[in-house]
């Protein structure tokens, strides 16, 4: 499964568009991490617990999106976008969406069209 945030994949051609796929999750860290983060807030710096939270959430949301793409028999997701929102205290929502497509190698696509032209002739 190719997952990219560009519209096209170099060297590949989109032969079929399967439609929009998406995945979302709302996650929280346990209360110990919340307290540690609020203490860290006093001195500033990276809140490692929350960084971890967002990484986990992103991975889970992407897994869900890829599962949806596999269900549609796509082999790539292009133009992937991430969105976050603040839902409740100390929880984060991660939402990821993209377009499920079927990709083939550019050479293969070219050969196919050549063959079709020959067949037509």
């Amino acid at each position: 499964m190719i997952v990219v945030n560009t519209e096209t994949v170099p060297g590949k051609r989109i032969v079929e568009v399967k439609g929009l796929v998406q995945g979302n999750t709302v996650r929280a860290k346990h209360v110990g991490r919340d307290i540690a983060a609020s203490l860290k807030n006093l001195v500033g710096g990276e809140l490692k617990g929350y960084t971890e939270l967002l990484v986990e959430a992103r991975r889970q949301a992407m897994e869900r999106m890829i599962a949806q793409a596999e269900e549609l028999q796509a082999n790539a997701v292009v133009n992937v976008r991430f969105a976050t929102s603040c839902i409740t205290v100390s929880a984060a929502e991660l939402y990821v969406y993209g377009t499920a497509v079927v990709l083939v190698d550019e050479e293969d696509a070219y050969q196919n069209t050549e063959q079709n032209i020959e067949l037509d002739a």
């Binding site: 709302v26 996650r27 839902i87």
Partner: protein, 137 residues
């Protein structure tokens, strides 16, 4: 008279609990009905409207009538699942209630967008973007 006060004490506990349960059941009933409705609507629109979030049209297509379509919704969680989620938040992990809430909201938005596109006789929706905002009540 003593019996009456005893009854009042029980009522003080039972009535709020009942109200909370009614809240939870109503919400789950509404949610289930909404998801059935959404599945029907999605099936209705998605068989003739394609929806993607890429900017460019394929080379062989040209747009004859381009119109911006939008959809929006504001949702809230019920009081019982908010409370249960806040307990789950202490342990950490996924808050399924909120995930479900957001998912239902997004599907509602997509269905509204598709309905608008359908009323314009569109067959493709391009460059879809989602935005969320937090409205504090």
């Amino acid at each position: 008279m003593e019996n009456f006060f005893c009854f009042l004490n029980i009522a003080q506990i039972v009535i709020p609990v009942l109200l909370l349960l009614i809240c939870a059941f109503t919400r789950s009933y509404i949610n289930r009905k909404r998801r059935i409705f959404l599945a029907e609507e999605e099936a209705k629109y998605l068989d003739h409207i394609q929806i993607v979030n890429t900017k460019k049209l394929p080379d062989n297509l040209r747009c004859v009538n381009c119109v911006l379509v939008t959809g929006s919704v504001v949702v809230a969680n019920d009081i019982v699942s908010t409370f249960l989620s806040s307990l789950k938040g202490l342990l950490g992990g996924e808050l399924k209630n909120y995930t479900l809430l957001c998912d239902t909201a997004r599907r509602t938005v997509l269905v509204r967008l598709l309905a608008e596109a359908d009323s314009l006789y569109a067959d493709k929706v391009y460059n879809v973007r989602f935005e969320t905002a937090f409205i504090h009540g």
